[in-house]
Amino acid sequence: MATYSTNEFKAGLKVMLDGDPASIVENEFVKPGKGQAFSRVRIRNLKTGRTIERTFKSGETIEAADVADVEMQYLYNDGQFWHFMNPETYEQIASDKNAVGENAKWLKEQDVCIITLFNGVPLIVEPPNTVVLKVTETDPGLKGDTSGGGGKPATLETGAVVRVPLFVQIGESIKVNTRTGEYLSRA
């Protein structure tokens, strides 16, 4: 079992915390001049996404988590699982709903996502920061209004709904920021 001592703590280190894989966000060394040293860390539970604080006595060790980030191409959804492929090794992997979560609405075939694997199983699926998706449904009216003010909801090919300017029409492709869910431009 690999372990890390508090001296190895740094942002991004993947460790086991309360049985879940977690990532250190911030580590602060705290020590009274003539007293006990501590590592005060902010740490994100990779399963729940929640960030908590934890304090360790300097010199303590914590179990390492077998967590790795890999770039994989999204292939298809079979109704239950999302399938991805490593573009270099052609190795395929299936991710369940827990790992994909809300991000399912940004997944488009062929797009390269970052998959966080925990013990070889997908834990988090991160879509690209921006994706290009086709508008499948939006109010066709109000054509000619190019002021950009106001906006209207549009449903995209993946099922995502974003606010778009009034001039965007069905069949057009648009660029969207997946982190904020905001329309960026016509593609």
Binding site: N7, F29, V30, G33
Partner: protein, 350 residues
Amino acid sequence: MRTDTSGDWQPVATLEVLRLRARLLEQIRAFFSGRRVLEVETPVLSAAAVTDPMLASFATRYIGPLFPHGQTLYLHTSPEFPMKRLLAAGSGSIYQICKVFRDGESGRRHNPEFTMLEWYRVGFDHHQLMTETGELVMKLLAPALGLNPPEKLTYREAFLRHTNINPHTATVLDYAAVADAHGIRVPIDLHQHADVAVWRDLLLTHVVEPKLGQGQLTFIYDYPACQASLARIQPDEPPVAARFELYLNGMELANGFHELADADEQRTRFEQQLHARAASSLPAVPLDERLLAAMCRDAQVSREAGCRERPLAHGLPDCAGVALGFDRLVMIACGARSIEEVLPFPLDRA
């Protein structure tokens, strides 16, 4: 040949901060010169080391004339021991500004080598030295920061005010309850094995310290006797150490003592610390016999302690001493969040 293009040859501290450092050093020297306190220099490398289990000394090795087979030398964690030898030799009040070294300490407020201002005032007790420390720091910082007059709290008052518990009587369970109430979560084994001192430091660093020194200097004094370090212990209920610390902006700036002058008591404490080091599997270090010899008042005892000739020796005079972290002072003076901002070349660029 490969050229490093990462840019980490460059200093971290700006030229402006380096000028501020120089200006503050000048002001400190002027302060002590005006009070007729003598500037001294003592060795960075020492055959003996600090025994405190909470301080780790760097060790290096000298080989050459005098020690053809090599001699382990420790980098000082503070210039305290040789400065006390000067005091015992009749130096009168002295100060020193020097680099000190502490292994294992790196973080937002720590760099393993840092600049310390340490001074000793003959005839002072710790309350008089707190007054002088306040005068110095106010002179250096108050014009720019507009600080209120300093406040003084006992260790007990500080804990009562910010945690509602009495640090002299509280149990591990009491500390754990306060930690819990403040959302401080620690590994379970701290509950099972840790002694009260560890919990006190946990709450001190996480709950009490951040509240201290807000807009004014806060002096904390009368420490638990087990944290006396090199301070005298005063009769009280329970007995307390004649030790103080200075805080500003939630940061520890200085640590001072009404210095223990009893050589026998000092030896006992060193030996207890060596036992504590062994119990924690920390490296054993040679204790400073020359300091102990200098502290001996009685010529007979001093000969037994291995002292060959001490023409001026008369034991450690009644005095108080304090060590102040100069880099942290600079941090506050320029509003730096991290010690790196006030060092030209911190650890990762050293």
